[in-house]
């Protein structure tokens, strides 16, 4: 095994090495277990490592391999964002509220990946209840960016992004409600895909904003994401909003060249909020796609500036109801010695939730109240429809939309100069896809001052194939996705 650099291998290469018996799943798993032990104390990307479980699963995988089983992810270790319920393993959602919660069942995403043979390495850190863009709202402490430990990894899937970027796992799951896969993928220099709403089951994924929450893969490349998505996607009878659509063969789809594709470039994604250095990197990447035969088309998404405020009305409203079940009655955190029912509710929730979660519950409770429903919630739903229509109109004329994933590269931890609304503006380029339910991916597209830049590719509804294809073809011609952080270079 010494001649293979396991940190750099694609999932396909890892599968080949396993199949050729160049390495066993136990060895592969042990390699990443050791890296987590060695490096994660600096990153804090994993809340609950599941080493014993992983090695047990790896042993079983080796037996399956020996018996000729060639399931797509058999023997490959993966980290799960701690928002996915895992039977018998703590699922905390990075909240004090669920710090000791053990789910009696597996999320569909978890069981689907396990069915494909993936090995659960552990549960990754995140913003509490997926509410945040810096991974600083976690009850278990902030996650560090492996490119610069004084900077954030982005959020909310910051632990997954950081871990993959640091080579602690070949791949991870994430969830994206307003950019929570794409923005951390961009800030950590990895590839992360948010599928179309309904492509991947939400069953067992702890709800934040149910009409936008979507699970997706985070890995080193579009090809790896394609392989993971194939295992995650498909209709689930346990999720009424999961789509009854056939899942294309992504591995084949991504091999098609991009020549002849029309790529829309929305001018609103390049306004004054975008850092000039990031803008330059994206323009360079776009010219690369043009050089590969794609046609760049100027398009307009004039409602882009309305996205963040629309999102921050709808998402907290849904969250205010979704988080009502954490009441100290049946499971989760309960305050000490409640005096009466109201005291039980008030103190359990006051003590069990962090500041950002409480802020959003309050905002959502307000926007849904009888006095403000029409003015806020209804209005936001109307704007949401308008934004979705704009995307649909643009995508009727182009195959994908391309632009930046985030306005900046990774910003410093505990940045006092960043207000709450500044933080919300991190999502300006990503929330539109969640409001419209569209698939979108962030791929590494440059490095500015030692920090990665992410390019966002947005596709038509349920056309993940074209998004993955453009990403994969770009990665065949570039090596931004092969650039690794200093920590990742650290050999075990």
């Amino acid at each position: 095994m010494s001649d293979i650099d396991l940190r750099a291998c694609s999932l396909h290469e890892l599968r080949e090495s396993l199949e050729n018996k160049q390495i066993s799943s136990v060895e592969l798993t042990q390699f990443f277990v050791d890296r987590i032990k060695l490096l994660d104390p600096q990153l804090n990307s994993v809340i609950t490592p599941t080493m014993d479980l992983a090695l047990k699963q790896a042993k079983q995988a080796d037996q399956r391999i020996a018996h000729g089983d060639d399931s797509a992810l058999l023997g490959i270790p993966i980290l799960h964002k701690d928002i996915f319920c895992t039977e018998g393993v703590k699922t905390t959602c990075a909240s004090k509220m669920l710090a000791d919660f053990v789910s009696p069942y597996d999320a569909t995403v978890v069981s689907a990946l396990a069915k494909s043979g993936a090995i659960t390495l552990g549960k990754t850190n995140m913003d509490e209840f997926a509410m945040g863009s810096s991974n600083e709202t976690s009850h278990f402490g902030a996650v560090k960016n492996p490119w610069d430990l004084s900077r954030v990894p982005g959020g909310s899937s910051g632990g997954s992004a950081s871990a993959v970027a640091a080579g602690l796992a070949p791949c991870a799951t994430g969830t994206d409600t307003g950019g929570s896969i794409r923005q951390p993928a961009a800030l950590c220099g990895i590839t992360g895909l948010k599928p179309s709403y309904g492509r991947v089951s939400r069953y067992g994924m702890i709800a934040f904003a149910s009409s936008m929450d979507q699970a997706g893969p985070m890995a080193k490349s579009a090809a790896d994401c394609a392989q993971l998505l194939s295992a995650m996607a498909g209709h689930d009878p346990l999720d009424s909003t999961s789509a009854k659509l056939a899942v294309p063969d992504y591995a084949t789809e991504i091999e098609r060249p991009v020549a002849g594709l029309r790529i829309g470039v929305p001018q609103e994604f390049f306004d004054k909020q975008l850092s000039p250095a990031v803008a330059d990197a994206i323009h360079t990447a776009l010219r690369q796609l043009e050089a590969m035969g794609a046609t760049l088309v100027d398009v307009k998404l004039p409602s882009t500036p309305l996205g963040v405020s629309t999102y921050y009305v709808i998402a907290p409203a849904e969250a205010s109801a979704n988080l009502a079940r954490y009441d100290g009655v049946r499971f989760g955190y309960r305050c000490e010695a409640p005096q009466n029912l109201e005291d039980l509710y008030v103190r359990s929730r006051t003590e069990g939730f962090g500041e950002e979660v409480k802020r959003r519950i309050l905002v959502g409770t307000f926007t849904l109240s009888a006095a403000s429903y029409d003015q806020y919630f209804m209005k936001a739903q109307q704007v949401r429809r308008m934004i979705a229509n704009e995307y649909d109109e643009v995508l009727a004329n182009v195959d994908v939309i391309a632009g930046p994933s985030a306005p900046n590269t990774a910003f410093p931890l505990n940045d006092a100069s960043k207000s709450i609304t500044d933080m919300y503006m991190e999502d300006v380029f990503t929330v539109g896809c969640n409001l419209a339910g569209l698939p979108a991916m962030s791929i590494p597209a440059g490095i500015v001052e030692g920090l990665p830049v992410g390019m966002q590719l947005i596709g038509r509804s349920f056309d993940e194939a074209t998004v993955l294809r453009v990403g994969h073809q770009f990665q065949l011609q570039t090596d931004w996705h092969r650039q690794v952080s200093r920590i990742a270079e650290f050999a075990s």
Binding site: Y203, S210, A317, A324
Partner: protein, 479 residues
């Protein structure tokens, strides 16, 4: 001043589905606490509701049963409030777009007239669990078996003016849903729960007064009493020049009073919004047509048919159609012997009396429809007098056997053999010369009275088993 009561009803019907409205847990009544729950019912993180198609179907059946509009698109919303027996912190209900709206339900009143009640809407929702306050010392226990049981909330327009109308509506509604097989309508088990919105206004005015909502009404008797008590309370307030507060009030049958349940200071803002976990319920015409074609005959239609085709009185028809089990019994007996009037009399007479006496429901009765039909047949064919039939019925009720064996065993056969009876009459005439002379001298009117003596003697001689009609005929001939 004279006052008029104005009432509207909200009835929660528990639908008769096998599993819950959004989970696969069973709905059966009486399981051990929390035995019928799964991760969704307990609202564990990550769980998602999946709509039970059977509940939708039953809601459509109800809508068709009251001639209402079945909305092609309806939606589920979240009604947000905190309560320990509401696991998610919200109830999934249909607030903005209910599945059923605008129906009319014709209620038969005891006087034979029909009282139409306008159904404003009927919507699907999930039931909450139960808080149990007496299971643990100083603590409240929660039983979530009921959480997620499908409910159909049926809301009427404020069409009721008397408590009798309210009770008649509830009885008819109970009849309808049991007919349709969509609920067992059992008030004691909570399958049918009624809230009454009640206000008073001066007679002959139009403007509605301030209403209160009465809850905890779990029997027809309580409902009637609660309405009276609350109307009196409101009348006293209004006549004192005070005002009625809009609030929810509980009826306390022990103290025979209503009392305020929630003060308006803590009035809930339920923050309804569309539930993003559930898709809109879209119903095709073909589905509605299919369900319509499988609907059983509705009570109103049945009632009319009993009157027009079977020539029953309006009163009998309404009693026989009040619930499906009774009508099914009646129709089943009718298949065995086509004498609707006599069968109706037996069911509403001796059968009903026996049921009342022993506290049995029609479905628990051991006398089968076929047996009742045969019993009536034995009267019609002259085998039994009606008095004898009562004895045979008692035998059936005591499970002594079938009709004919009971007749045999009890020696109840009526003697109608003319030869045997003629001989007996001849003997009677020969032994009663004085009475015969008196009879023969009398005028026809007097004769009618005098013949009674001979009939009585003849019955005595046959120990009551002679067919009196046959005796009468023979006597007339021979005298």
């Amino acid at each position: 001043m004279k006052w008029e009561m104005v009432m509207g009803l909200e009835v929660h019907l528990q639908l008769a589905t096998v599993s819950k409205i959004f989970s696969s847990s069973k709905t059966a009544f009486g399981a051990a606490p929390n035995e019928q729950t799964n991760p969704l019912d307990v609202a564990l993180p990550g769980t998602l509701p999946v709509l039970n198609e059977a509940a939708v179907r039953q809601a459509i059946v109800f809508g068709l049963g009251v001639g209402a509009t079945i909305n092609k698109v309806s939606r589920f919303d979240r009604k947000n409030y905190f309560y320990p027996d509401l696991p998610k912190g919200y109830q999934i209900s249909q607030f903005f777009a209910p599945i059923v709206s605008d129906g009319v339900f014709d209620i038969p009143l005891p006087d034979g007239s029909v009282f139409p009640v306008r159904i404003l809407r009927a919507h699907l929702e999930e039931d909450a669990g139960k808080s149990v306050h007496d299971a643990l010392p100083n603590q409240t226990a929660i039983d979530l078996n009921r959480a997620g049981t499908p409910l159909l909330e049926v809301v009427t327009e404020p069409d009721f003016r008397t408590a009798e109308q309210v009770v008649a509506y509830l009885k008819a509604l109970h009849g309808l849903v049991t007919y349709l097989g969509i609920s067992d309508g059992n008030m004691a088990e909570g399958s049918m729960r009624c809230d009454v919105n009640i206000s008073l206004r001066p007679t002959d005015t139009v403007k509605l007064g301030t209403r209160t909502e009465l809850k905890n009404l779990n029997s027809f008797k309580f409902i009637e009493r609660a309405i009276q008590v609350e109307a009196e309370r409101q009348q006293d307030l209004l006549e004192d020049g005070r005002t009625v507060t809009q609030e929810t009030r509980l009826f306390d049958p022990e103290l025979d009073e209503t009392r305020s349940m929630r003060s308006k200071e803590v009035a809930n803002d339920y923050r309804y919004f569309p539930d993003p976990d559930l898709l809109p319920v879209v119903i095709d015409d073909s589905v509605i047509d299919n369900i319509r074609s499988q609907l059983p005959e509705l009570p109103t239609v049945k009632r009319e048919r009993y009157q027009s085709q079977l020539e029953l009185s309006a009163y009998d028809a309404s009693l026989l159609t009040q619930d499906r089990a009774t009508a099914d019994y009646f129709e089943s007996s009718l298949e065995h012997h086509n004498n609707p009037k006599a069968l109706a009399n037996w069911m509403l007479g001796d059968l009903a009396a026996a049921m009342n006496r022993d506290g049995l429901a029609i479905r628990d009765v051991v006398v089968t429809p076929a047996q009742l039909a045969l019993l009536v047949n034995r009267i019609d064919d002259g085998t039994l007098s009606s008095k004898m039939a009562k004895a045979v019925f008692e035998g059936l009720w005591q499970e002594e056997g079938d009709v004919d064996p009971i007749i045999e065993a009890r020696g109840l056969q009526q003697v109608s053999d003319t030869g045997e009876l003629e001989a007996m009459v001849d003997e009677l005439i020969a032994n009663s010369p004085a009475q015969v002379a008196q009879y023969r001298a009398a005028d026809p009117d007097k004769q009618k009275k005098l013949i009674g003596y001979f009939v009585g003697q003849a019955m005595k001689a046959t120990k009551g088993q002679a067919n009196p009609q046959v005796i009468n005929e023979i006597l007339r001939k021979k005298l």
